[in-house]
């Protein structure tokens, strides 16, 4: 067999401009998009199938957490606080004060939990993303499909917490129905940026830092367990800049029925969260492509 000459070798992949990514994928070849399932939905379905296996155990943590916190803090601490300083919370019981905060921070916890380790693990451990790469799915579809799944879990968990709130009598107004999408939006404002970041992470200790130094202080200091007015002014300004405070304020306003008094403020909170979520979705498409195209 004659040796292949240089001219016989097949041409290599097109060279990229230095420092650049390949141009965004052209729309998939005809027949792949319609009338068949959109690609994002296919990615979503993968996660749905995984979830069907584990939904029973996830019910426990979704159910148990809010119930326990409401019971312990709302009732236990509530008894003490209402006895001591009933006026400091603006005339509502501590239970009614803290319940919407538990809803919003629960959404944050669910979002960060779903957007950190599952995303990281889908590249490193169970390699779901790597498998999906070999299919017509583009990295942006993989990202959005997973985000859809996170949205679904957020919606389920938040709906359940609202029901528990109502059952415990922590709800003061019918506007609480809007607290549900508000909480989901809060969760999304965390899920999208965290997922966009998580896909770039190389070692899992980064997540420990995120939970210890970002998520936990946010949960404790964003006007959740005590009014923000008790923080010194500098920290208060910091809290105003963080998403959880906006989520807590929104949910609390709906739950206590004070939303109608300040519609501009509510819109402001919602806009802040929506911008954060949109930025996360925009960034995620890029980081996913950078990571999954290598």
């Amino acid at each position: 067999m004659a040796a292949l000459s240089r001219g016989d070798y097949p041409p290599g992949p097109p060279r990229l401009p230095p420092g650049g990514l390949p141009p965004g994928d052209p729309p998939a070849l005809g027949g792949l998009r319609s009338p068949q399932t959109p690609l994002t939905v296919r990615a979503f379905r993968c996660w749905l199938t995984v979830y069907r296996r584990i939904w029973r155990s996830s019910i426990w943590s979704s159910v148990l957490g809010p119930v326990c916190y409401l019971g312990a803090l709302g009732f236990g601490l509530g008894t003490l606080i209402d006895r001591h300083s009933p006026a400091s919370l603006g005339g509502v019981s501590y239970l009614a004060f803290v319940a919407p905060a538990i809803l919003a921070s629960g959404a944050m916890n669910t979002a960060t939990a779903e957007a950190s380790f599952p995303v990281f693990g889908s590249i490193k451990w169970n390699r779901i993303y790597i498998g999906a790469q070999a299919s017509p799915l583009r990295p942006a579809d993989i990202f959005r499909g997973h985000l859809m799944f996170m949205l679904m879990r957020l919606a389920m968990n938040c709906a359940f917490v609202v029901l528990v709130m109502w059952a415990f009598g922590a709800v003061e107004s019918a506007w609480v129905v809007l607290a549900w999408p508000a909480a989901v939006l809060t969760g999304l404002a965390f899920a999208a940026p965290v997922a966009a970041w998580a896909v770039t992470v190389k070692v899992e200790t980064s997540f420990a830092y995120m939970f210890r130094f970002a998520v936990m202080p946010l949960m404790l200091f964003s006007g959740t367990f005590f009014p923000l007015s008790q923080l010194p002014a500098g920290l208060r300004a910091l809290a105003y800049a963080t998403p959880l405070w906006h989520g807590v304020a929104l949910c609390r306003a709906f739950s206590l029925g004070t939303a109608a008094q300040d519609p501009a403020g509510m819109l402001g909170h919602a806009a802040y969260l929506a911008v954060l979520a949109a930025a996360g979705i925009w960034a995620g498409a890029r980081t996913y492509r950078r990571r999954l195209y290598v």
Partner: protein
């Protein structure tokens, strides 16, 4: 070398003999040494564990303390809320730290890193592995407890010389929960089983008179909670910190110690059963 090993192998019969062997055994320290070496690289993760109870103390102790005012402490007299909740947080952080280390990390080492398979191919025995793991959890717990105590001193939350015993008691709480957690981990089959860990630890965390006195509950519920180990630990720490000591503290400490020893023994046997099959 073989002679010295065989001398150690002469088994004195019975439970006392086993305890004596465990007490003079240095084998378990070798596993602690391994963990120390591995964590030297990620010392920041190690240090950051101190911050968690600290944040809770600042938020719940100081922030909420203004709203709550004074609560009846041990012995009946009212104390500021932050002095009430700080020992509770110390107990809880000992429990959480111990459980996290003994469940999450042990499961990972058992099933994925296969660390214990490698260790048991040497002269090390399953009991030494269990003791070594729990010893490491205790070492971490001691460091965190000392850091927390220093913060408590700095915030002027400690008014009694008995509070010196807080650190050993926090380690005792960690011992009990690390032993229990490790035993439970040996029965786990997949990551989903960790929901049971959360199932157990979250109610304990919230309902063991950590944030409010037991008197808030109706009597039947009080009885149930008094049987749980975290409550005993919280009461122990609170009594010592405030300075109200009585002989009942010995019973509470013995309860925690007994749980720890039972878990230690059980987890050693389970590891042997799982790996030396």
């Amino acid at each position: 070398m073989s002679e010295s090993v065989s001398l150690r192998m002469l088994p004195p019969a019975g439970l006392l003999g086993r305890l004596r062997r465990a007490g003079t055994d240095t084998g378990s320290l070798r596993l602690v040494e391994r963990h120390a070496r591995a964590y030297r690289r990620v010392w920041l993760v190690f240090i950051s564990g101190v911050f968690e109870p600290l944040f809770y103390l600042l938020s719940v102790g100081l922030g909420l303390g203004v709203l709550v005012g004074k609560v009846p402490g041990p012995g009946g007299q009212p104390i500021p809320y932050r002095e009430f909740v700080a020992p509770g947080l110390l107990a809880v952080s000992s429990m959480n730290g111990a459980m996290f280390d003994s469940t999450f990390n042990v499961f990972f080492r058992l099933k994925y890193a296969k660390l214990y398979d490698a260790v048991l191919a040497t002269p090390m025995r399953p009991a030494q592995v269990a003791l070594g793991e729990i010893g490491w959890a205790l070492l971490r717990g001691t460091i965190y407890a000392i850091a927390f105590m220093l913060v408590m001193l700095a915030l002027d939350l400690v008014h009694s010389p008995w509070a010196v015993l807080d650190v050993p008691v926090a380690v005792l709480i960690g011992f009990a929960f690390a032993a229990i957690g490790m035993t439970g981990t040996t029965y786990m089959k997949s990551w989903q089983d960790f929901d049971y860990v959360i199932l157990a630890s979250m109610p304990l965390f919230l309902f063991s008179a950590t944030f409010y006195p037991l008197s808030v509950y109706p009597r039947p519920v009080q009885v149930v909670i008094e049987c749980t180990p975290l409550y005993q630990g919280v009461v122990l720490l609170r009594d010592l910190t405030v300075g109200v000591v009585g002989p009942d503290l010995l019973w509470r400490a013995a309860y925690l110690a007994a749980l720890g020893v039972a878990g230690l023994y059980a987890s050693g046997r389970r590891i042997g059963k799982l790996l030396l099959v």
